[in-house]
Symmetry: C2
Subunit: 319 residues, 2 copies
């Protein structure tokens, strides 16, 4: 089977017309065509996952497909965007039908969950890696940026953090576990759920937002830098799942929550007056601190005293 048939055959489900009228032309020509509705802007993000760096090799290709699309789509959530579609650039050492079929199935599961469509791609022979570029749309001027946090805003997250980092010893095969906790953590790692609906609900309300991919401390540092403010995090309010605390113990769980990446829940700055309405609507928002004048990130203990920060988020070229 040739390169062209390969893509068409295995990725047919993910490429089917799902996202409605925005995709004018999908896979099969030199380019894809998108129509962006009047008054909306196009939102774009690109992420690469490399075997042995971002995921273990070998691993379950279906789970890998889910995770690859979720990681990129989470950036759309962080902007408050409505997803449209994605392109997939896939490098493979060889075209193994079973692997491709399972990977495409995983991709399609996440595409269906996010209401997205595969609109184009490239398949090349090479070391296993994949670059997904995702597309969404947002009303002009309403995208959630990192740069708008204001002193006095609340610092919030969209759910528990640390589960994906807690799962890493399982993912890497350094530890074994078949418990309900292990299974819950693995699920967070392999199949994160981009908080698209929450992101859209935060449009016009949150003053700054991102998705936690590098770790809570590191990502809060990004908001602080972009907004020229300081983010104060109350350690005791960092939400940790019961599964993580049972699995790793409270101290290690907190470490995972602060420094571990790959959670893909939203972190955002919210004016106080916006909180009651969002909570009343049932959004799983947790207040973990506040925005102050200054720079960087501080961590506070239960007495309001500064906790030394000695853990940095993962950095690919400094790690």
């Amino acid at each position: 089977m040739g390169e062209f048939e390969l893509i068409r055959h295995y990725f047919a489900a993910a490429a089917c017309a799902r996202a409605g009228g925005d995709v004018v032309l999908g896979i099969g020509d030199d380019c894809a065509l998108l129509a962006v509705p009047a008054g909306e802007q196009l939102v774009i993000s690109t992420d690469t996952l490399v075997a042995g760096v971002h995921f273990p090799d070998p691993c379950d290709p279906c789970l890998l497909g889910q995770r690859a699309l979720a990681v990129s789509t989470s950036d759309l959530a962080a902007m408050g965007a409505t997803p449209i579609g994605f392109t997939l650039a896939l490098s493979l050492p060889l075209a193994e039908p079973g692997w491709l079929e399972a990977f495409a199935r995983g991709l399609d599961i996440m595409a269906a969950a996010c209401d997205m469509r595969l609109i184009g791609g490239d398949t090349t022979r090479g070391p296993l890696s994949m670059t997904l570029t995702v597309f969404g749309r947002v009303p002009a001027g309403q995208a959630l940026l990192r740069s708008g946090a204001r002193v006095g805003d609340l610092l919030c997250v969209g759910g528990t953090v640390g589960d994906a980092a807690g799962a890493l010893p399982l993912v890497l095969g350094e530890r074994e576990g078949a418990s309900a906790e292990a299974s819950a953590l693995l699920d967070r790692y392999w199949s994160p759920q981009p908080q698209l609906a929450l992101g859209q609900a935060l449009r016009g309300k949150a003053t700054a937002a991102l998705d936690i991919s590098d770790g809570l401390l590191a990502d809060c540092g990004h908001i602080a830098a972009a907004s020229s403010v300081r983010l104060a995090i109350e350690q005791a309010r960092v939400p940790l799942s019961d599964a993580l605390v049972r699995w790793a113990g409270r101290e290690r769980a907190l470490q995972c929550g602060l420094a571990g990446g790959d959670d893909y829940v939203l972190a955002f700055a919210l004016p106080r007056e916006e909180l009651p309405g969002l909570l009343a609507d049932g959004w799983p928002i947790r207040v973990i601190g506040r925005i102050e004048a200054g720079e960087g990130v501080r961590l506070l203990d239960a007495d309001g005293k500064d906790v030394p920060i000695d853990r940095q988020g993962y950095n690919h070229f400094n790690a």
Copy 2:
């Protein structure tokens, strides 16, 4: 230097505001934002280049930067699009400042030539490879597709073919040469010039178009399949550069022109009545055949007899 500073530092030139008002938000947030003018559609293409597969490793990183962007931008030319910008997902075994500086310089040279801007990216540790996703815009309904060729149309190309394939022995170090011919061929390989202006001039005129990346025969096969027609190529009219003929001899030059890829000139179907006007405007169009009823591609000798086709375009998983 961290991952974020790395991108910002070395790619600052390519990320500067060059493309005008379409880029609302560039590098530095979770996503980039594009405004697509009313009445226009967004055009998207993605391509991966892997070290050792699509280019030799080591190679000159400045030339590699030029080529990487040209290869992708050529797909925009094939759609008749006006370029806006691109994202770069770069995997590197290590962050070597000299390499990055030169690669970024090459990228910027081509970005300036194509009036494009780097709008986002991802840098990861991994085997050397890069995925570029390029964005352009085209008036709604005017994109040049592969699927509209009609029986009776002329088959045309936008310039000479085969130079890049002729350069391959030089690129791979299998042959040495410092002649003017060798230098001209190497230049075609490393720094192809996307035919953006020609593509835009063909809007509303050409009935089908693509850029020659897999080789003339293979790519004409793509038009034939998408348009449900047959493409007849007159062998004697396939334009070959003097440099290629002098370097490789006429027979090998013709092989390169028919089966070699990487030329990135446009091939298109054109109604006869459109030709005089385009030639009068000075476009470097060469008629090489015609569109017939049927399927596939045929090659004709000087007597109009069929020449057996035994060479296929390069196919990554069939090669």
